[in-house]
């Protein structure tokens, strides 16, 4: 998945563009007689080329790592076939992922999830509240810490939302 500028100029017969986003392009193509999805990241010309290459490669590795780890836990992610050329199966952008175990990071993730659900589905406050309770129940001590942190996270930033308690048992 290293950004390969030449690819833009040469039309390759073995792959077809599916979509393009801010970070790169997604193709569908043939690879070793298998049908694969190819994710290619753009090179950022405003960066120094060495730094850009390094950052891009680290993002690719992080994404491949996250996808494969998720898979081993039974999460349905694509299988990574080849992270070194612009030929592999990557569909979800995990480029900014890390495997730190900090409660702060987990709390922020929960917060992002919470805000995402609340903003896209109306009247889901109780549902979200119950999700958090279920998380606390499933995770014991570590989860308690994370939820405590979550309360702190909620007090930060603009556009805070008031909390409703969970009214049903999960």
């Amino acid at each position: 998945m290293v950004a390969v500028p030449n690819l833009n100029k040469k039309r390759r017969m073995d792959r077809q563009l599916v979509t393009q986003g801010a970070e790169g392009r997604v193709y569908v193509g043939d690879w070793l007689n298998h049908s694969v999805i190819i994710k290619q990241r753009f090179s950022k010309k405003y960066r120094h080329v060495d730094l850009d290459t390094h950052i891009t490669q680290e993002r690719i590795k992080a994404e491949a790592r996250a996808l494969t780890r998720c898979r081993s836990l039974g999460i349905r992610t694509p299988a990574v076939y080849d992270p070194y050329e612009s030929s592999e199966v990557i569909l979800i952008d995990f480029g900014l992922s890390s495997v730190e175990e900090r409660a702060e990071d987990k709390a922020v993730d929960l917060y992002v999830l919470e805000r995402a659900v609340l903003s896209t589905h109306p009247n889901t406050e109780a549902f979200v509240s119950c999700c958090i309770s279920a998380y606390k129940k499933a995770g014991s001590n570590a989860a308690e810490d994370v939820v405590k942190r979550l309360d702190e996270v909620r007090t930060r930033g603009r556009k805070k939302i008031p909390q409703k308690p969970c009214t049903s048992t999960p």
């Binding site: 690879w31 070793l32 007689n33 298998h34 590795k61 491949a64 790592r65 996808l67 494969t68 780890r69 898979r71 081993s72 836990l73 039974g74 999460i75 349905r76 992610t77 299988a79 990574v80 076939y81 080849d82 992270p83 070194y84 050329e85 030929s87 592999e88």
Partner: protein, 178 residues
């Protein structure tokens, strides 16, 4: 009979797999390998789930060779090394390479179409055994052993095939510990 695929490198190297059973001379063959007389990777078919697994290893090997970045001394040992998820070359060759007493061997030949034809002829003469259809690989694969070796989890097999699990680990060897 044999499985053939064109690799993704610039040279469009052809990769052909030939499966042998009733092999009688694994011991002498190993000596030939050490003497540099064998122009093929000789792999234990028990550790191979499907030809694609070998194709991915071969693809990576030819790319490394073109860049002058092989980790092992020859293209043929490089292919075997790429099947492994660990960085120890000797360990990889021992786990995936043909053993002294093996009765079945999967031969991997690389080159242009003409070179591959010649090399297949040569290796067929060198191996004292019976050429069988590569589809018989399915009968020889020891899935439980493969699963254990590649540390594939039961959860993972619910969301994908053993082949996908194996290839993912091979591909991400350099930066993934699972």
């Amino acid at each position: 009979m044999a499985f053939s695929v064109v690799l993704q490198d610039e040279a469009r190297t052809v990769c052909r797999l030939v499966l042998f059973r009733e092999v009688e001379n694994a011991g002498p063959l190993r000596k030939l390998i050490l003497a540099g007389q064998v122009e093929a990777s000789l792999i234990q078919p028990q550790m191979v789930v499907a030809p694609f697994q070998v194709a991915v290893a071969a693809n990576r090997a030819v790319r490394a060779q073109a860049l002058g970045k092989m980790a092992t001394r020859s293209l043929y040992t490089e292919v075997i090394f790429n099947l492994s998820t660990k960085k120890n070359i000797m360990n990889a060759l021992k786990t995936f390479g043909m053993g002294e007493e093996d009765k079945e061997v999967l031969a991997v030949v690389l080159g242009t179409e003409e070179e591959v034809e010649d090399k297949v002829t040569k290796i067929t003469q060198q191996i004292n055994g019976k050429v069988v259809d590569t589809s018989e690989l399915a009968d020889l694969t020891q899935e439980a052993r493969v699963q254990e070796l590649y540390k594939v989890t039961p959860e993972e097999l619910k969301v994908g095939s053993l082949l996908e699990a194996v290839v993912s680990r091979m591909a991400c060897r350099d930066f993934l510990t699972l």
